[in-house]
Symmetry: C2
Subunit: 297 residues, 2 copies
């Protein structure tokens, strides 16, 4: 089963990488340097967790893989843009990402700003350009979902809450509120968009799936905090321990490492429970869940 | 006729302002400071040229004004986001916009970054959330058009070309190439989206309209350069003469002020010609054209 999952994940990671290579503007097209920088920031790195979730959720609704690939690529472009902007000097001021210099270090700040802006536009262009659902109205609903997840009441809002929390001691609910926005919203979008590419799910199924996605989004962040606290920069591929250095509250700083690990396990059980109604169709989602909780980088 | 146009323009400016007030997130919703900053950057200022173009283009296809209002608001949000990012220290480093401190001066750089990011997301959310055309597929095409206009082969790409041209002596075709991207793409989108909200236009009509929009987009920039060279900061509401100070090529620096004024007139004639086939339905578009060429701020 685990070997099978690794093969499946690897093939989907290759698929999303190949698609992103094609979907991103060529470096031969003006403005060449901007396009070069966009490709630098998106290609050849990352665990592609959100695309894996989209593919696994697509299994629930027998979704066409070509469609899921586009939706997954759009989500990944939004994720990539957020990393580029998050690394800027006025935000986290980070110099290392996925084992390489960050965009503003490799290019310059203005280019990094425009790379992020352009990646966001490209994500919505893809969502509108390709056929992703049988009914165009479903596709409009998907675009709305992605836009909400990315915007001020989603990911970008989470970044703002994160910034304002530096140096503060947050309560657990406050920390959860931040992460539901900052990382959770886009992870939920990945799951829901993957499922929306296929046959319609009923209201109960959509509610269960959304709850699953919420659990997995929080679990992802809890594990991230544990890894950040434990790992070294070399194994992590990005600057380790920076949240503690930046005086940012984390699950580890609030709960301690042991309790944080327990919380991740509780969230896994909750996530599993929300998938019960789907039976064997949810096998891949369970595997991706395990992958997210057990990962070591 | 001119009094009539002023009334029409004022009523549409009020309409778009009122809508933006409703469509932007309330400052009572978390994250409050981000939402406050978004409203600060969008509301209460600007000539709303792009919305006026959208409304006037909507006349060509008997478009419902409610629909045009949403499309126009989305275009204006993209425009507003571009100004916020353009004013950042790593770009033009400007402190004054529409007679007020720029976003990063009034708030801070990180907030300005997130304001721009969030305004872009909100624009696409509106385009997907409201009914803008009879057929959902038409609406998907409109979203694609807006995304292309905003992205690396449109507005954001134009910004990149602009940055790389600082200190260079561009040829007239190179300058035109930059502006077709930087300001032209979004102005074209405003015109085309306004028209797409109504009855379908045929291929010939769409081509004529696109040519009109291209002329008007360039004319807008030529007049901007003339005004920037001639005006004072007080009348302009933003820092005057900054392009010359930044050693940026402009139509005035390349052609001289007199020839630049002539070019604007030529573009007006060309724009008028492309509207000939539309007859009286294009009356408003002709008036907005005159407004853009003759404006003094």
């Amino acid at each position: 089963m685990i070997a099978d999952f690794k093969d499946w994940a690897r093939s989907r990671q290759v698929r999303i990488e190949t698609s992103l290579q094609t979907l991103l503007p060529s470096t031969n097209v003006a403005p060449e340097r901007l396009h070069d920088a966009m490709r630098y920031c998106v290609l050849g790195g990352g665990k592609r967790v959100r695309p894996l979730l989209a593919f696994a959720a697509g299994d629930l609704s027998n979704a066409d893989e070509e469609r899921v690939t586009i939706a997954a690529a759009a989500v990944e472009l939004i994720h990539a843009y957020s990393l580029v902007h998050d690394d800027l000097p006025c935000m986290d001021n980070d110099v290392l990402r996925r084992g390489k210099p960050t965009c503003h270090v490799e290019y310059d700040e203005a280019t990094a700003l425009l790379v992020g802006d352009s990646l966001q536009s490209l994500a919505f262009q893809l969502m509108a350009e390709y056929r992703l659902a049988d009914a165009p109205q479903t596709q409009l609903d998907m675009i709305k979902r992605l836009a909400q997840a990315a915007g001020s009441r989603g990911m970008a809002g989470g970044q703002a809450i994160d910034l304002s929390s530096v140096g503060k001691m947050l309560s657990l609910p406050e920390l959860e509120f931040m992460h539901i926005h900052k990382t959770g919203a886009l992870i939920r979008a990945a799951v829901m968009l993957g499922a929306c590419c296929g046959n319609s799910l009923n209201e109960n199924q959509l509610t269960s799936l959304d709850h699953f996605a919420k659990c997995i989004g929080l679990a992802f962040q809890v594990v991230d905090d544990v890894l950040d606290a434990e790992a070294t920069t070399a194994t992590l591929g990005k600057t380790a321990g920076k949240d503690a250095d930046n005086n940012k509250p984390t699950y580890v700083s609030i709960l301690g490492g042991g309790r944080a690990r327990e919380l991740a396990e509780e969230l896994r059980r909750d996530a599993y429970q929300s998938l019960e109604g789907f039976g064997p169709m949810a096998a891949r989602l369970r595997q991706v869940t395990d992958f997210i909780i057990q990962r070591e980088f």
